[in-house]
């Protein structure tokens, strides 16, 4: 990178002090507007907006949606975060230095089938092993990425970042964990979205594991709807209200996720010789009490906690509308997307 382009990137990052983070979802779109004032990040506005459903990657004709933000959410820049069933995130390692990353077949390691057009990016992760380079890679179908990039009309906010939802939520969580959990004990996190969930393990403040499961809140909702033959509107009542005991169905549906979660705990214990100190859960958590019960079942008394991403920000009183109170955990993706831009650290695209 030449001096001029390095200066340009630095200048751009410095100049981005007002960013709106958008986390697209099937139920709704989470939007937060964050401003940087010195080293502090201030939450200016947050809201839930109508859903923006990305197209299927194999459709020939895309119906382009337009997202017009309320005035209070119109920052200068927009960081978009999106998780679909086709979005793929993997924590990988290659023997040797960072230059070896360019030599690997990304389609193969990311499990992308031939003929599919994907955008792939990666970021090198600090590691205590000198023999290999660890990197976090994300892949998103070209169709969906292109659709997301054109969501915002001309003017402000101007799109400046597009991330896989799991990565942006991970970014938000890492910011919360780093100062307090750099000790020997590990931290397990679950980042749930509509169609997928990410299981994350941090050890000594470093990301050591990321597993993506194709189970999300919508997967759970569909299963419950199918099992009990109820209307879509009633699903949240069943999951959160307890009008019908759906714990067995929920446990069955979440079983693969819970299995992965237990494997993550074992990974920390056996590979890192570390016990789990903390379990944090955030994202789209329909039937949250079931999630917390199932995730904490075999964790040796460590109780999963719902993580509120706004705790890492300065929040002025009256910024959060009443309708989103109690749902703060769902904003992890939006907060992480905005913070990634404000902190000015970009990964490499492939």
């Amino acid at each position: 990178m030449s001096c001029m382009s390095a200066f340009s990137v630095k200048f751009k990052n410095k100049s981005r002090t007002d960013v709106v983070g958008l986390d697209l979802g099937i139920m709704d779109t989470k939007a937060v507007r964050i401003k940087r004032t010195g080293d502090a990040f201030v939450l200016v506005a947050a809201d839930l907006l109508p859903p923006l459903v990305p197209p299927q990657p194999d459709v020939s004709e895309i119906q382009q949606a337009i997202c017009v933000l309320p005035k209070v959410l119109q920052g200068r820049y927009a960081a978009i975060s999106m998780n679909t069933l086709q979005t793929n995130i993997r924590l990988l390692a290659v023997p040797g230095g960072a230059e070896k990353i360019e030599q690997i077949n990304f389609n193969e390691v990311m499990g992308i089938s031939e003929g599919m057009d994907y955008r792939i990016g990666y970021e090198i992760i600090p590691s205590d092993s000198r023999a290999e380079t660890t990197f976090l890679a994300a892949a998103m179908p070209q169709t969906q990425a292109s659709w997301a990039a054109r969501l915002l009309p001309q003017g402000i906010p101007a799109p400046c970042s597009l991330q896989a939802g799991g990565v942006s939520a991970l970014n938000a969580m890492s910011r919360a964990l780093m100062p307090h959990h750099s000790g020997e004990d590990g931290v397990l996190c679950v980042v749930a979205s509509d169609e997928t969930s990410g299981i994350v393990a941090f050890h000594k403040g470093i990301l050591v594991l990321f597993r993506q499961c194709p189970i999300g809140s919508q997967t759970l909702a569909r299963k419950v709807q199918e099992r009990f033959g109820i209307e879509t509107d009633m699903v949240s009542g069943v999951l959160d209200g307890g009008m019908i005991d759906a714990s067995a169905t929920i446990a069955t549906t979440l079983a693969p996720l819970i299995r992965q979660f237990l494997l993550a705990r074992e990974f920390l214990e056996r590979k890192r010789m570390s016990r789990v100190e903390k379990i944090l859960v955030c994202g789209e958590l329909m039937g949250v009490k079931h999630w917390l019960t199932l995730l904490g079942a075999d964790m040796g008394g460590v109780r999963p906690e719902l993580w509120n991403p706004f705790t890492t920000l300065s929040v002025a009183s009256g910024v959060l509308p009443e309708r989103i109170q109690g749902m703060e955990t769902r904003f992890a993706g939006a907060v992480g997307a905005a913070l990634a831009v404000l902190e000015g650290d970009r990964g490499l695209s492939h």
Binding site: R76, Y77, I80, R119, I120, G121, Y122, E123, I125, P126, L136, A137, A138, M140, A145, S146, A149, R150, Q154, G155, I156, P157, A158, P159, C160, S161, L162, Q163, A164, V167, S168, L170, N171, S174, R175, M178, L207, G336, L339, A340, V341, E343, G344, D345, R346, G347, S349
Partner: protein, 207 residues
């Protein structure tokens, strides 16, 4: 560290500025072209105006040209007349009225002296240090005297003339060296003498 894997393509990024750079360039180009066209039009109008003025002037000149020739001729004539007038005036300034001087001379010549010749000469020269020419006169008298006091009589005439010279019109009155002498021997006595008197007038400038 921040986890940020940006999947946005460079051509999908936009500037948040409401003033787009290409719009600014477009406005600059359009404004420049418009200004150029306007300037060209104004220059054409100016050129046309000057062209019309030149044509009009040429027509007027053709009408006035004979009058101008006549004017030049009259001016040349006037200049010639003025020159002649000035020369005449200058000459009149340098003139000496010899009638008065001869009457004055008649009154001062003693009875013992007989004037034999009177010659007036003039010369025009350019005195050193002056820009204008000057006219000089010389009055040369020749005469005879027959008396025992011939020298005294001649000196008396000289004194009379010098008194007048002091008034300023005459510069000097002298007897040239060797010009007071005895008359030729074949027809005269010992008392007969001949003399000459040279009277120089002050130079008169043509200024």
């Amino acid at each position: 560290m921040a986890y940020h894997i940006d999947l946005l393509l460079d051509d999908e990024r936009r500037s948040p500025s409401t003033i787009q750079i290409y719009m600014v360039l477009r406005v600059i180009v359009i404004t420049s072209v418009a200004a150029l066209i306007l300037l060209s039009f104004l220059l054409f109008l100016k050129w046309h105006d000057l062209f019309v003025q030149v044509s009009s002037m040429e027509q007027r000149w053709q009408m006035l040209s004979p009058q101008e020739d006549e004017l030049q001729r009259v001016r040349a004539d006037l200049s010639g007349v003025r020159n002649s007038t000035r020369q005449l005036h200058d000459f009149s300034q340098t003139r000496v009225l010899f009638g008065q001087d001869l009457a004055w001379l008649q009154r001062g010549v003693p009875t013992e002296i007989q004037l034999t010749s009177l010659r007036i000469t003039q010369s025009v020269n350019n005195p050193t240090g002056t820009a204008h020419a000057a006219r000089s006169y010389e009055l040369r008298l020749s005469g005879q005297v027959n008396s025992e006091d011939a020298e005294k009589d001649v000196n008396g005439l000289l004194s009379y003339m010098n008194e007048t010279a002091s008034t300023g019109r005459i510069e000097s009155v002298v007897i040239p060296p060797g010009s007071f002498r005895s008359a030729p021997a074949h027809s005269s006595t010992r008392a007969d003498r001949e003399f000459e008197v040279l009277c120089r007038y002050r130079a008169r400038s043509f200024e």
